[in-house]
Amino acid sequence: MSTSEPAVICRDVVKTYGKGEIAVRALKGVSLEARFGELLMIVGPSGCGKTTLLSVMCGTLRADSGTIELFGKSISSMPERELTAFRARNVGFIFQQFNLVPTLTAQENVSIPRLLNGAPYATAQQDAGAMLAQVGLGGREKSFPSQMSGGQQQRVAISRAMVHQPRLVICDEPTASLDAAAGQRAMDLLRESARHPDRCVIVVTHDSRIFHYADRIVEMDDGLVTASQTASDYLRDHPHPHPQPKSHA
Protein backbone atom coordinates (compact mmCIF):
# COMPACT_ATOMS: atom_id res chain seq x y z
CA MET A 1 0.00 0.00 0.00
CA SER A 2 1.20 3.47 -0.85
CA THR A 3 2.26 5.57 2.09
CA SER A 4 0.84 8.68 0.48
CA GLU A 5 -2.75 7.45 0.34
CA PRO A 6 -5.03 9.99 2.09
CA ALA A 7 -6.45 8.54 5.30
CA VAL A 8 -8.31 11.67 6.32
CA ILE A 9 -9.68 14.35 4.05
CA CYS A 10 -11.40 17.45 5.45
CA ARG A 11 -12.87 19.99 3.03
CA ASP A 12 -14.23 23.39 4.00
CA VAL A 13 -15.23 22.22 7.47
CA VAL A 14 -17.20 24.80 9.44
CA LYS A 15 -18.23 24.45 13.05
CA THR A 16 -19.97 27.08 15.15
CA TYR A 17 -20.72 26.68 18.87
CA GLY A 18 -23.90 28.29 20.15
CA LYS A 19 -26.24 30.62 18.36
CA GLY A 20 -26.80 34.35 17.82
CA GLU A 21 -24.70 36.78 19.82
CA ILE A 22 -22.80 34.16 21.79
CA ALA A 23 -21.99 32.05 18.72
CA VAL A 24 -18.31 31.07 18.48
CA ARG A 25 -17.05 30.18 15.03
CA ALA A 26 -14.46 27.57 16.01
CA LEU A 27 -13.77 26.29 12.48
CA LYS A 28 -14.21 28.70 9.62
CA GLY A 29 -13.62 26.44 6.63
CA VAL A 30 -10.80 24.04 7.36
CA SER A 31 -9.36 21.81 4.66
CA LEU A 32 -6.59 19.33 5.26
CA GLU A 33 -5.39 15.86 4.37
CA ALA A 34 -3.59 13.26 6.42
CA ARG A 35 -1.97 10.25 4.82
CA PHE A 36 -1.44 6.66 5.86
CA GLY A 37 1.96 6.06 7.34
CA GLU A 38 2.13 9.66 8.44
CA LEU A 39 2.35 11.41 11.81
CA LEU A 40 0.60 14.71 11.33
CA MET A 41 0.76 17.42 13.96
CA ILE A 42 -1.75 20.18 14.27
CA VAL A 43 -0.30 23.15 16.12
CA GLY A 44 -1.51 26.60 16.96
CA PRO A 45 -2.40 28.89 19.88
CA SER A 46 -4.89 27.87 22.50
CA GLY A 47 -8.49 28.39 21.36
CA CYS A 48 -7.70 28.30 17.65
CA GLY A 49 -9.94 25.27 17.08
CA LYS A 50 -7.56 22.29 17.22
CA THR A 51 -9.67 20.17 19.55
CA THR A 52 -12.81 21.06 17.64
CA LEU A 53 -11.15 19.90 14.44
CA LEU A 54 -10.16 16.57 16.03
CA SER A 55 -13.68 16.04 17.35
CA VAL A 56 -15.26 16.78 14.00
CA MET A 57 -12.70 14.61 12.22
CA CYS A 58 -13.59 11.49 14.21
CA GLY A 59 -17.28 12.23 14.32
CA THR A 60 -17.76 12.78 18.05
CA LEU A 61 -18.92 16.22 16.96
CA ARG A 62 -20.90 16.99 13.84
CA ALA A 63 -19.68 19.72 11.51
CA ASP A 64 -22.10 22.40 10.34
CA SER A 65 -20.89 22.13 6.77
CA GLY A 66 -18.05 20.72 4.73
CA THR A 67 -17.15 17.07 4.17
CA ILE A 68 -15.00 14.65 6.13
CA GLU A 69 -13.77 11.43 4.60
CA LEU A 70 -12.05 8.70 6.57
CA PHE A 71 -10.38 5.98 4.49
CA GLY A 72 -12.49 6.92 1.50
CA LYS A 73 -15.79 6.91 3.43
CA SER A 74 -17.72 10.09 4.07
CA ILE A 75 -18.71 10.27 7.73
CA SER A 76 -20.63 13.53 7.40
CA SER A 77 -23.86 11.79 6.45
CA MET A 78 -23.28 8.53 8.32
CA PRO A 79 -26.07 7.67 10.80
CA GLU A 80 -25.05 7.98 14.46
CA ARG A 81 -25.17 4.26 15.17
CA GLU A 82 -23.06 3.36 12.16
CA LEU A 83 -20.61 6.14 12.94
CA THR A 84 -20.20 4.87 16.51
CA ALA A 85 -19.40 1.37 15.28
CA PHE A 86 -17.11 2.82 12.62
CA ARG A 87 -15.23 4.74 15.30
CA ALA A 88 -14.95 1.67 17.51
CA ARG A 89 -13.34 -0.22 14.64
CA ASN A 90 -11.11 2.41 13.10
CA VAL A 91 -10.14 5.11 15.58
CA GLY A 92 -7.89 5.10 18.62
CA PHE A 93 -7.95 7.94 21.12
CA ILE A 94 -5.34 9.48 23.36
CA PHE A 95 -6.39 12.31 25.63
CA GLN A 96 -4.45 14.89 27.56
CA GLN A 97 -6.00 13.66 30.82
CA PHE A 98 -5.46 9.99 29.87
CA ASN A 99 -9.07 9.22 30.87
CA LEU A 100 -8.23 5.77 32.16
CA VAL A 101 -11.08 4.33 34.22
CA PRO A 102 -9.69 4.49 37.78
CA THR A 103 -11.49 1.36 38.96
CA LEU A 104 -10.08 -0.77 36.16
CA THR A 105 -6.59 -2.22 35.99
CA ALA A 106 -4.22 -1.25 33.19
CA GLN A 107 -5.03 -4.45 31.36
CA GLU A 108 -8.79 -4.02 31.73
CA ASN A 109 -8.57 -0.44 30.52
CA VAL A 110 -6.58 -1.47 27.48
CA SER A 111 -8.99 -4.30 26.67
CA ILE A 112 -11.96 -1.95 26.22
CA PRO A 113 -11.60 -1.22 22.47
CA ARG A 114 -11.32 -4.95 21.80
CA LEU A 115 -14.44 -5.59 23.86
CA LEU A 116 -16.26 -2.81 22.02
CA ASN A 117 -15.40 -4.62 18.81
CA GLY A 118 -16.95 -7.79 20.09
CA ALA A 119 -13.89 -9.75 21.21
CA PRO A 120 -14.52 -12.33 23.96
CA TYR A 121 -13.40 -11.14 27.37
CA ALA A 122 -10.45 -13.54 27.66
CA THR A 123 -9.15 -12.71 24.18
CA ALA A 124 -9.44 -9.00 24.87
CA GLN A 125 -7.43 -9.40 28.08
CA GLN A 126 -4.78 -11.40 26.27
CA ASP A 127 -4.43 -8.78 23.53
CA ALA A 128 -4.31 -6.05 26.16
CA GLY A 129 -1.54 -7.84 28.02
CA ALA A 130 0.50 -8.23 24.83
CA MET A 131 -0.02 -4.56 24.00
CA LEU A 132 1.13 -3.45 27.45
CA ALA A 133 4.27 -5.55 27.06
CA GLN A 134 4.98 -3.74 23.78
CA VAL A 135 4.97 -0.34 25.47
CA GLY A 136 7.26 -1.59 28.24
CA LEU A 137 4.60 -2.14 30.88
CA GLY A 138 4.88 -5.91 31.08
CA GLY A 139 4.24 -6.85 34.72
CA ARG A 140 2.05 -3.83 35.40
CA GLU A 141 -1.13 -5.37 33.97
CA LYS A 142 -2.83 -5.56 37.34
CA SER A 143 -1.88 -2.04 38.44
CA PHE A 144 -4.57 0.56 38.78
CA PRO A 145 -4.03 3.98 37.16
CA SER A 146 -3.58 5.60 40.59
CA GLN A 147 -0.63 3.28 41.23
CA MET A 148 1.20 4.47 38.13
CA SER A 149 3.13 7.59 37.17
CA GLY A 150 1.74 10.00 34.60
CA GLY A 151 4.09 8.67 31.95
CA GLN A 152 3.08 5.09 32.66
CA GLN A 153 -0.58 6.05 32.57
CA GLN A 154 -0.12 7.68 29.18
CA ARG A 155 1.58 4.56 27.92
CA VAL A 156 -1.44 2.57 29.10
CA ALA A 157 -3.60 5.06 27.20
CA ILE A 158 -1.44 4.59 24.11
CA SER A 159 -1.87 0.83 24.43
CA ARG A 160 -5.61 1.36 24.67
CA ALA A 161 -5.54 3.50 21.53
CA MET A 162 -3.58 0.87 19.59
CA VAL A 163 -4.84 -2.49 20.84
CA HIS A 164 -7.51 -2.88 18.16
CA GLN A 165 -5.12 -1.88 15.35
CA PRO A 166 -7.06 1.23 14.34
CA ARG A 167 -6.30 2.98 11.06
CA LEU A 168 -6.52 6.41 12.66
CA VAL A 169 -5.07 7.42 16.02
CA ILE A 170 -5.93 10.87 17.28
CA CYS A 171 -4.16 12.48 20.19
CA ASP A 172 -5.17 15.70 21.88
CA GLU A 173 -2.22 17.26 23.70
CA PRO A 174 -0.80 13.84 24.63
CA THR A 175 2.28 15.29 26.34
CA ALA A 176 0.78 18.34 28.04
CA SER A 177 0.46 16.53 31.39
CA LEU A 178 3.83 14.83 31.20
CA ASP A 179 7.38 15.81 32.06
CA ALA A 180 9.86 16.05 29.21
CA ALA A 181 11.25 12.52 29.48
CA ALA A 182 7.84 10.86 29.73
CA GLY A 183 6.62 13.01 26.84
CA GLN A 184 9.51 11.87 24.67
CA ARG A 185 8.85 8.25 25.58
CA ALA A 186 5.17 8.57 24.64
CA MET A 187 6.05 10.27 21.35
CA ASP A 188 8.58 7.56 20.55
CA LEU A 189 5.76 5.04 20.77
CA LEU A 190 3.42 7.14 18.63
CA ARG A 191 6.19 7.79 16.12
CA GLU A 192 6.82 4.06 15.92
CA SER A 193 3.17 3.24 15.47
CA ALA A 194 2.80 5.78 12.64
CA ARG A 195 5.34 3.86 10.57
CA HIS A 196 2.65 1.25 10.01
CA PRO A 197 1.56 1.65 6.36
CA ASP A 198 -2.11 1.28 7.28
CA ARG A 199 -2.08 3.84 10.03
CA CYS A 200 -2.31 7.57 10.35
CA VAL A 201 -1.50 9.36 13.61
CA ILE A 202 -2.75 12.89 14.18
CA VAL A 203 -1.38 14.77 17.18
CA VAL A 204 -2.74 18.09 18.35
CA THR A 205 -0.22 19.94 20.46
CA HIS A 206 1.35 23.21 21.35
CA ASP A 207 4.28 21.50 22.99
CA SER A 208 7.19 22.63 20.82
CA ARG A 209 9.47 20.04 22.47
CA ILE A 210 7.81 17.32 20.39
CA PHE A 211 7.43 19.09 17.02
CA HIS A 212 10.37 17.19 15.59
CA TYR A 213 8.45 13.88 15.86
CA ALA A 214 6.07 14.99 13.10
CA ASP A 215 6.24 14.14 9.41
CA ARG A 216 4.13 17.15 8.63
CA ILE A 217 2.92 20.08 10.68
CA VAL A 218 -0.32 21.93 10.02
CA GLU A 219 -0.59 25.33 11.60
CA MET A 220 -3.94 26.71 12.67
CA ASP A 221 -5.03 30.14 13.79
CA ASP A 222 -8.46 31.46 14.60
CA GLY A 223 -10.38 28.59 13.03
CA LEU A 224 -8.35 28.38 9.84
CA VAL A 225 -5.39 26.37 8.59
CA THR A 226 -2.65 28.91 7.97
CA ALA A 227 0.18 26.65 6.80
CA SER A 228 1.10 23.05 6.09
CA GLN A 229 4.77 22.08 5.89
CA THR A 230 7.10 19.19 6.47
CA ALA A 231 8.38 19.12 10.03
CA SER A 232 11.90 20.07 8.97
CA ASP A 233 10.68 23.10 7.01
CA TYR A 234 8.52 24.14 9.95
CA LEU A 235 11.38 23.82 12.41
CA ARG A 236 13.68 25.80 10.14
CA ASP A 237 11.10 28.59 9.91
CA HIS A 238 10.27 28.49 13.64
CA PRO A 239 13.51 28.18 15.57
CA HIS A 240 12.96 27.75 19.29
CA PRO A 241 15.06 27.10 22.37
CA HIS A 242 14.58 23.36 22.77
CA PRO A 243 17.46 21.16 21.66
CA GLN A 244 16.39 19.04 18.69
CA PRO A 245 17.71 15.79 17.38
CA LYS A 246 18.61 16.40 13.78
CA SER A 247 15.91 14.54 11.94
CA HIS A 248 13.33 11.93 12.65
CA ALA A 249 11.27 11.15 9.59
Binding site: T51, R87, L116
Partner: protein
Protein backbone atom coordinates in the same frame (compact mmCIF):
# COMPACT_ATOMS: atom_id res chain seq x y z
CA UNK B 1 -18.45 -4.63 28.34
CA UNK B 2 -21.01 -5.80 30.92
CA UNK B 3 -18.23 -7.40 32.86
CA UNK B 4 -16.37 -4.08 32.76
CA UNK B 5 -19.54 -2.37 34.01
CA UNK B 6 -19.72 -4.74 36.97
CA UNK B 7 -16.03 -4.28 37.76
CA UNK B 8 -16.54 -0.52 37.76
CA UNK B 9 -19.41 -1.01 40.20
CA UNK B 10 -17.85 -3.52 42.60
CA UNK B 11 -14.50 -1.73 42.78
CA UNK B 12 -16.06 1.58 43.70
CA UNK B 13 -16.19 0.14 47.20
CA UNK B 14 -17.52 3.11 49.14
CA UNK B 15 -20.41 3.78 46.82
CA UNK B 16 -21.09 0.12 46.27
CA UNK B 17 -21.29 -0.49 50.02
CA UNK B 18 -23.56 2.51 50.36
CA UNK B 19 -25.85 1.32 47.58
CA UNK B 20 -26.03 -2.21 48.93
CA UNK B 21 -26.63 -1.15 52.51
CA UNK B 22 -29.31 1.34 51.46
CA UNK B 23 -31.17 -1.20 49.38
CA UNK B 24 -30.67 -3.96 51.96
CA UNK B 25 -32.01 -1.74 54.70
CA UNK B 26 -34.93 -0.75 52.52
CA UNK B 27 -35.93 -4.27 51.59
CA UNK B 28 -35.34 -5.54 55.13
CA UNK B 29 -37.56 -2.82 56.54
CA UNK B 30 -40.28 -3.43 53.99
CA UNK B 31 -40.34 -7.21 54.20
CA UNK B 32 -39.99 -7.30 57.98
CA UNK B 33 -42.80 -4.81 58.49
CA UNK B 34 -44.96 -6.47 55.88
CA UNK B 35 -44.28 -9.82 57.55
CA UNK B 36 -45.35 -8.52 60.97
CA UNK B 37 -48.36 -6.86 59.40
CA UNK B 38 -49.40 -10.10 57.73
CA UNK B 39 -48.77 -11.89 61.00
CA UNK B 40 -51.17 -9.59 62.83
CA UNK B 41 -53.68 -10.04 60.04
CA UNK B 42 -53.33 -13.79 60.53
CA UNK B 43 -53.98 -13.38 64.27
CA UNK B 44 -57.24 -11.68 63.47
CA UNK B 45 -58.39 -14.69 61.50
CA UNK B 46 -57.03 -17.36 63.87
CA UNK B 47 -60.53 -18.51 64.83
CA UNK B 48 -61.32 -19.26 61.22
CA UNK B 49 -58.29 -21.47 60.94
CA UNK B 50 -58.65 -23.12 64.34
CA UNK B 51 -62.29 -24.02 63.77
CA UNK B 52 -63.01 -25.33 60.36
CA UNK B 53 -66.46 -24.94 58.89
CA UNK B 54 -67.61 -24.31 55.34
CA UNK B 55 -70.36 -21.89 56.40
CA UNK B 56 -70.49 -19.60 59.41
CA UNK B 57 -73.82 -18.20 60.55
CA UNK B 58 -73.70 -15.13 62.78
CA UNK B 59 -75.90 -12.27 63.91
CA UNK B 60 -76.86 -9.97 61.05
CA UNK B 61 -74.88 -7.08 62.59
CA UNK B 62 -71.57 -8.98 62.69
CA UNK B 63 -68.95 -7.73 60.22
CA UNK B 64 -65.93 -9.83 61.14
CA UNK B 65 -65.17 -12.95 63.06
CA UNK B 66 -63.87 -11.42 66.25
CA UNK B 67 -67.08 -9.52 66.76
CA UNK B 68 -69.26 -11.73 68.94
CA UNK B 69 -73.01 -11.23 69.23
CA UNK B 70 -74.92 -14.11 70.74
CA UNK B 71 -77.55 -15.91 68.67
CA UNK B 72 -80.72 -17.53 70.04
CA UNK B 73 -81.14 -21.31 70.38
CA UNK B 74 -83.93 -21.13 67.84
CA UNK B 75 -81.48 -19.83 65.24
CA UNK B 76 -79.82 -23.24 65.10
CA UNK B 77 -83.19 -24.72 64.18
CA UNK B 78 -83.80 -22.02 61.58
CA UNK B 79 -80.52 -22.83 59.87
CA UNK B 80 -81.15 -26.58 60.04
CA UNK B 81 -84.48 -26.13 58.31
CA UNK B 82 -82.96 -24.49 55.25
CA UNK B 83 -83.15 -26.70 52.14
CA UNK B 84 -79.43 -26.57 51.32
CA UNK B 85 -78.18 -27.41 54.81
CA UNK B 86 -77.05 -30.95 55.64
CA UNK B 87 -76.59 -30.18 59.28
CA UNK B 88 -75.94 -27.21 61.54
CA UNK B 89 -74.46 -27.12 65.04
CA UNK B 90 -74.02 -24.39 67.63
CA UNK B 91 -70.61 -23.22 68.76
CA UNK B 92 -70.18 -21.75 72.21
CA UNK B 93 -67.67 -18.94 72.25
CA UNK B 94 -66.87 -16.90 75.32
CA UNK B 95 -64.00 -15.42 77.24
CA UNK B 96 -64.00 -16.44 80.87
CA UNK B 97 -61.66 -16.38 83.86
CA UNK B 98 -60.21 -19.71 84.86
CA UNK B 99 -58.91 -20.27 88.36
CA UNK B 100 -55.64 -22.10 88.28
CA UNK B 101 -54.35 -24.62 90.87
CA UNK B 102 -52.19 -21.91 92.46
CA UNK B 103 -55.23 -19.70 92.98
CA UNK B 104 -54.44 -17.17 90.26
CA UNK B 105 -56.77 -16.31 87.39
CA UNK B 106 -56.27 -16.54 83.67
CA UNK B 107 -58.58 -15.40 80.88
CA UNK B 108 -59.38 -18.25 78.49
CA UNK B 109 -61.20 -18.62 75.23
CA UNK B 110 -63.88 -21.15 76.11
CA UNK B 111 -65.03 -23.01 73.03
CA UNK B 112 -68.02 -25.30 73.26
CA UNK B 113 -68.39 -27.92 70.53
CA UNK B 114 -71.48 -29.87 69.53
CA UNK B 115 -71.09 -33.05 71.59
CA UNK B 116 -72.27 -35.49 68.98
CA UNK B 117 -70.25 -34.32 65.96
CA UNK B 118 -67.52 -32.24 67.60
CA UNK B 119 -67.77 -29.91 64.61
CA UNK B 120 -65.14 -27.20 64.95
CA UNK B 121 -62.81 -29.61 66.74
CA UNK B 122 -59.12 -28.70 67.03
CA UNK B 123 -57.33 -29.52 63.82
CA UNK B 124 -54.16 -30.77 65.50
CA UNK B 125 -54.32 -32.95 68.60
CA UNK B 126 -50.96 -33.26 70.33
CA UNK B 127 -52.18 -35.61 73.07
CA UNK B 128 -55.46 -37.32 73.86
CA UNK B 129 -58.57 -37.61 71.73
CA UNK B 130 -61.38 -35.17 71.05
CA UNK B 131 -63.90 -37.88 71.93
CA UNK B 132 -62.66 -37.83 75.51
CA UNK B 133 -64.63 -34.61 75.87
CA UNK B 134 -67.56 -36.96 76.54
CA UNK B 135 -65.95 -37.75 79.95
CA UNK B 136 -67.20 -35.74 82.93
CA UNK B 137 -65.73 -32.25 83.48
CA UNK B 138 -63.28 -32.73 80.65
CA UNK B 139 -61.57 -30.02 78.60
CA UNK B 140 -58.92 -29.90 75.93
CA UNK B 141 -56.39 -27.08 76.18
CA UNK B 142 -53.96 -25.75 73.59
CA UNK B 143 -50.21 -25.27 73.66
CA UNK B 144 -50.69 -21.62 74.61
CA UNK B 145 -52.41 -22.70 77.81
CA UNK B 146 -49.54 -25.04 78.64
CA UNK B 147 -47.02 -22.25 78.10
CA UNK B 148 -48.97 -19.82 80.29
CA UNK B 149 -49.28 -22.41 83.03
CA UNK B 150 -45.64 -23.33 82.70
CA UNK B 151 -44.68 -19.70 83.22
CA UNK B 152 -46.59 -19.79 86.48
CA UNK B 153 -44.68 -22.85 87.57
CA UNK B 154 -47.50 -25.30 86.87
CA UNK B 155 -46.57 -28.22 84.65
CA UNK B 156 -49.93 -29.13 83.21
CA UNK B 157 -50.52 -32.51 81.63
CA UNK B 158 -53.42 -34.81 81.00
CA UNK B 159 -55.21 -35.14 84.32
CA UNK B 160 -54.34 -31.68 85.62
CA UNK B 161 -57.38 -29.85 86.89
CA UNK B 162 -58.36 -26.19 87.30
CA UNK B 163 -61.61 -24.35 87.88
CA UNK B 164 -63.93 -22.34 85.72
CA UNK B 165 -66.56 -20.51 87.81
CA UNK B 166 -66.09 -22.98 90.65
CA UNK B 167 -66.64 -25.93 88.37
CA UNK B 168 -63.86 -28.42 87.92
CA UNK B 169 -62.19 -28.71 84.52
CA UNK B 170 -59.92 -31.66 83.89
CA UNK B 171 -57.51 -31.73 81.01
CA UNK B 172 -58.07 -34.78 78.79
CA UNK B 173 -56.26 -33.61 75.69
CA UNK B 174 -53.78 -31.10 74.36
CA UNK B 175 -54.12 -29.54 70.96
CA UNK B 176 -52.23 -27.08 68.80
CA UNK B 177 -53.95 -23.85 67.81
CA UNK B 178 -52.92 -20.74 65.96
CA UNK B 179 -52.53 -17.80 68.23
CA UNK B 180 -55.44 -15.39 68.27
CA UNK B 181 -55.33 -11.62 68.28
CA UNK B 182 -55.77 -11.33 72.05
CA UNK B 183 -53.63 -14.35 72.70
CA UNK B 184 -55.90 -16.14 75.19
CA UNK B 185 -55.45 -19.88 75.33
CA UNK B 186 -58.16 -21.96 73.74
CA UNK B 187 -60.02 -24.33 76.03
CA UNK B 188 -62.34 -26.72 74.25
CA UNK B 189 -65.27 -28.48 75.83
CA UNK B 190 -68.76 -29.55 74.81
CA UNK B 191 -71.50 -27.04 74.14
CA UNK B 192 -73.57 -28.22 77.09
CA UNK B 193 -70.70 -28.15 79.51
CA UNK B 194 -69.69 -24.69 78.35
CA UNK B 195 -73.18 -23.55 79.37
CA UNK B 196 -72.60 -25.12 82.78
CA UNK B 197 -69.32 -23.32 83.16
CA UNK B 198 -70.96 -19.99 82.39
CA UNK B 199 -74.50 -20.27 83.74
CA UNK B 200 -74.81 -16.78 85.08
CA UNK B 201 -73.87 -15.09 81.88
CA UNK B 202 -75.77 -14.55 78.75
CA UNK B 203 -75.39 -17.54 76.54
CA UNK B 204 -72.61 -17.21 74.05
CA UNK B 205 -74.00 -18.97 71.05
CA UNK B 206 -71.68 -16.97 68.84
CA UNK B 207 -71.73 -19.06 65.69
CA UNK B 208 -73.79 -21.68 64.03
CA UNK B 209 -71.56 -23.87 61.92
CA UNK B 210 -73.33 -25.34 58.93
CA UNK B 211 -72.49 -27.92 56.30
CA UNK B 212 -74.13 -27.74 52.86
CA UNK B 213 -75.90 -30.79 51.48
CA UNK B 214 -73.90 -32.69 48.86
CA UNK B 215 -74.04 -30.79 45.57
CA UNK B 216 -74.96 -27.50 47.26
CA UNK B 217 -72.28 -24.84 47.30
CA UNK B 218 -71.43 -22.94 50.48
CA UNK B 219 -72.36 -19.76 48.59
CA UNK B 220 -75.88 -21.13 48.05
CA UNK B 221 -76.26 -21.84 51.78
CA UNK B 222 -74.99 -18.33 52.50
CA UNK B 223 -77.73 -16.95 50.22
CA UNK B 224 -80.38 -19.00 51.97
CA UNK B 225 -79.23 -17.90 55.44
CA UNK B 226 -79.06 -14.27 54.41
CA UNK B 227 -82.71 -14.45 53.45
CA UNK B 228 -83.55 -15.18 57.12
CA UNK B 229 -84.14 -12.01 59.15
CA UNK B 230 -81.57 -11.30 61.85
CA UNK B 231 -78.98 -13.78 60.52
CA UNK B 232 -76.04 -13.47 58.25
CA UNK B 233 -73.71 -16.11 56.86
CA UNK B 234 -70.24 -16.19 55.40
CA UNK B 235 -68.45 -18.93 53.60
CA UNK B 236 -64.99 -19.59 54.97
CA UNK B 237 -63.03 -17.55 52.40
CA UNK B 238 -65.38 -14.58 52.46
CA UNK B 239 -65.30 -14.44 56.27
CA UNK B 240 -61.50 -14.51 56.10
CA UNK B 241 -61.39 -11.70 53.56
CA UNK B 242 -64.07 -9.59 55.22
CA UNK B 243 -62.27 -9.87 58.56
CA UNK B 244 -58.99 -8.68 57.04
CA UNK B 245 -60.71 -5.84 55.22
CA UNK B 246 -62.47 -4.82 58.43
CA UNK B 247 -59.16 -4.56 60.28
CA UNK B 248 -57.58 -2.69 57.44
CA UNK B 249 -60.45 -0.20 57.30
CA UNK B 250 -61.20 0.17 60.99
CA UNK B 251 -57.86 0.02 62.79
CA UNK B 252 -54.67 2.02 62.63
CA UNK B 253 -52.66 -1.14 62.00
CA UNK B 254 -52.24 -0.77 58.22
CA UNK B 255 -51.53 2.95 58.53
CA UNK B 256 -48.78 2.48 61.07
CA UNK B 257 -47.14 -0.34 59.14
CA UNK B 258 -47.73 1.44 55.87
CA UNK B 259 -45.92 4.49 57.25
CA UNK B 260 -42.85 2.46 58.14
CA UNK B 261 -42.89 0.75 54.74
CA UNK B 262 -43.20 4.14 53.06
CA UNK B 263 -40.27 5.41 55.13
CA UNK B 264 -38.28 2.41 53.95
CA UNK B 265 -39.11 3.26 50.37
CA UNK B 266 -38.17 6.92 50.84
CA UNK B 267 -34.91 6.05 52.57
CA UNK B 268 -34.20 3.54 49.80
CA UNK B 269 -34.86 6.05 47.07
CA UNK B 270 -32.87 8.74 48.84
CA UNK B 271 -29.80 6.62 49.55
CA UNK B 272 -29.81 4.50 46.40
CA UNK B 273 -30.86 7.30 44.06
CA UNK B 274 -28.34 9.74 45.44
CA UNK B 275 -25.46 7.29 45.61
CA UNK B 276 -26.16 5.99 42.14
CA UNK B 277 -26.36 9.54 40.85
CA UNK B 278 -22.94 10.19 42.37
CA UNK B 279 -21.62 6.94 40.96
CA UNK B 280 -22.69 7.81 37.43
CA UNK B 281 -21.70 11.43 37.86
CA UNK B 282 -18.18 10.51 38.97
CA UNK B 283 -17.83 8.12 36.06
CA UNK B 284 -19.25 10.50 33.49
CA UNK B 285 -15.85 11.53 32.22
CA UNK B 286 -14.93 7.88 31.58
CA UNK B 287 -18.30 7.11 30.09
CA UNK B 288 -17.74 9.99 27.68
CA UNK B 289 -14.36 8.48 26.81
CA UNK B 290 -16.08 5.15 26.15
CA UNK B 291 -18.60 6.93 23.97
CA UNK B 292 -15.82 8.56 21.95
CA UNK B 293 -14.10 5.20 21.69
CA UNK B 294 -17.19 3.76 20.09
CA UNK B 295 -19.54 2.62 22.84
CA UNK B 296 -23.04 3.42 21.62
CA UNK B 297 -25.66 5.05 23.81
CA UNK B 298 -27.55 1.74 23.96
CA UNK B 299 -24.50 -0.03 25.28
CA UNK B 300 -23.77 2.64 27.89
CA UNK B 301 -27.39 2.69 28.99
CA UNK B 302 -27.27 -1.09 29.24
CA UNK B 303 -24.18 -0.84 31.44
CA UNK B 304 -25.85 1.68 33.75
CA UNK B 305 -29.00 -0.45 33.98
CA UNK B 306 -26.94 -3.52 34.75
CA UNK B 307 -25.13 -1.66 37.51
CA UNK B 308 -28.37 -0.35 39.03
CA UNK B 309 -30.20 -3.66 38.91
CA UNK B 310 -27.24 -5.66 40.17
CA UNK B 311 -27.12 -3.58 43.33
CA UNK B 312 -30.90 -3.87 43.57
CA UNK B 313 -30.82 -7.62 43.22
CA UNK B 314 -28.09 -8.06 45.84
CA UNK B 315 -29.72 -5.61 48.25
CA UNK B 316 -33.05 -7.34 47.78
CA UNK B 317 -31.54 -10.74 48.49
CA UNK B 318 -29.71 -9.56 51.60
CA UNK B 319 -32.73 -7.65 52.91
CA UNK B 320 -35.05 -10.57 52.40
CA UNK B 321 -32.52 -12.92 53.95
CA UNK B 322 -32.22 -10.74 57.05
CA UNK B 323 -36.01 -10.49 57.26
CA UNK B 324 -36.19 -14.27 57.11
CA UNK B 325 -33.67 -14.56 59.92
CA UNK B 326 -35.69 -12.07 61.92
CA UNK B 327 -38.89 -13.94 61.12
CA UNK B 328 -37.37 -17.25 62.06
CA UNK B 329 -36.24 -16.01 65.45
CA UNK B 330 -39.52 -14.31 66.34
CA UNK B 331 -41.58 -17.28 65.15
CA UNK B 332 -40.03 -19.24 68.00
CA UNK B 333 -41.37 -16.71 70.51
CA UNK B 334 -44.66 -16.08 68.78
CA UNK B 335 -44.48 -12.32 69.26
CA UNK B 336 -44.44 -10.16 67.26
CA UNK B 337 -46.32 -12.33 64.81
CA UNK B 338 -44.57 -12.94 61.52
CA UNK B 339 -46.03 -14.35 58.38
CA UNK B 340 -44.63 -13.92 54.91
CA UNK B 341 -46.94 -14.96 52.12
CA UNK B 342 -45.43 -14.99 48.63
CA UNK B 343 -46.96 -11.59 47.95
CA UNK B 344 -44.48 -9.92 50.33
CA UNK B 345 -41.26 -10.85 48.47
CA UNK B 346 -42.98 -10.01 45.20
CA UNK B 347 -44.11 -6.65 46.53
CA UNK B 348 -40.67 -5.84 47.97
CA UNK B 349 -39.05 -6.98 44.73
CA UNK B 350 -41.27 -4.70 42.70
CA UNK B 351 -40.53 -1.74 44.97
CA UNK B 352 -36.77 -2.39 44.82
CA UNK B 353 -37.03 -2.69 41.04
CA UNK B 354 -38.83 0.65 40.96
CA UNK B 355 -36.16 2.25 43.14
CA UNK B 356 -33.47 0.85 40.84
CA UNK B 357 -35.33 2.06 37.77
CA UNK B 358 -35.57 5.48 39.33
CA UNK B 359 -31.85 5.54 40.19
CA UNK B 360 -30.93 4.16 36.79
CA UNK B 361 -33.15 6.69 35.04
CA UNK B 362 -31.09 9.52 36.54
CA UNK B 363 -27.91 7.88 35.29
CA UNK B 364 -29.39 6.96 31.93
CA UNK B 365 -30.58 10.53 31.36
CA UNK B 366 -27.06 11.76 32.01
CA UNK B 367 -25.47 9.13 29.79
CA UNK B 368 -27.94 9.67 26.95
CA UNK B 369 -27.21 13.38 26.90
CA UNK B 370 -23.48 12.77 27.11
CA UNK B 371 -21.48 14.43 24.33
CA UNK B 372 -18.58 12.25 23.35
CA UNK B 373 -16.71 15.39 22.37
CA UNK B 374 -16.65 16.60 26.00
CA UNK B 375 -13.97 14.02 26.63
CA UNK B 376 -11.39 16.29 25.03
CA UNK B 377 -12.12 19.07 27.49
Amino acid sequence: MFRIALLMLFRDKAKYAMLISGLTFCSLLMSQQAGVFCGIMMWTTATLRNISSPVWVVDAKVQQINEVISLRDIDVQRVRSLPGVAWAVPLFWGIVQARLPDGSFQAIQLTGLDSSSFTGRPAVMLEGRVEDLRLPNSVIVDQVALEKLHRKGIDARIGTTFEINDEEARIVGICHTERSFLGQPYVYTTYERALQYMPAQRKMLAYVLAEPKPGVSPQEVVRQVNALPGLRAFDHDTFFRETMIWYIKNTGIPVSFGTVVLMGIIVGIAIAGQTFYLFVHDNLRYLAALKAMGAGTTKLVGMVLLQAFTTGFIGYGLGLGLAAIFGNSVLRNGTPPFYMPWQVPVFVGVVIALICSFSAAIGVAKVARLEAATVFK
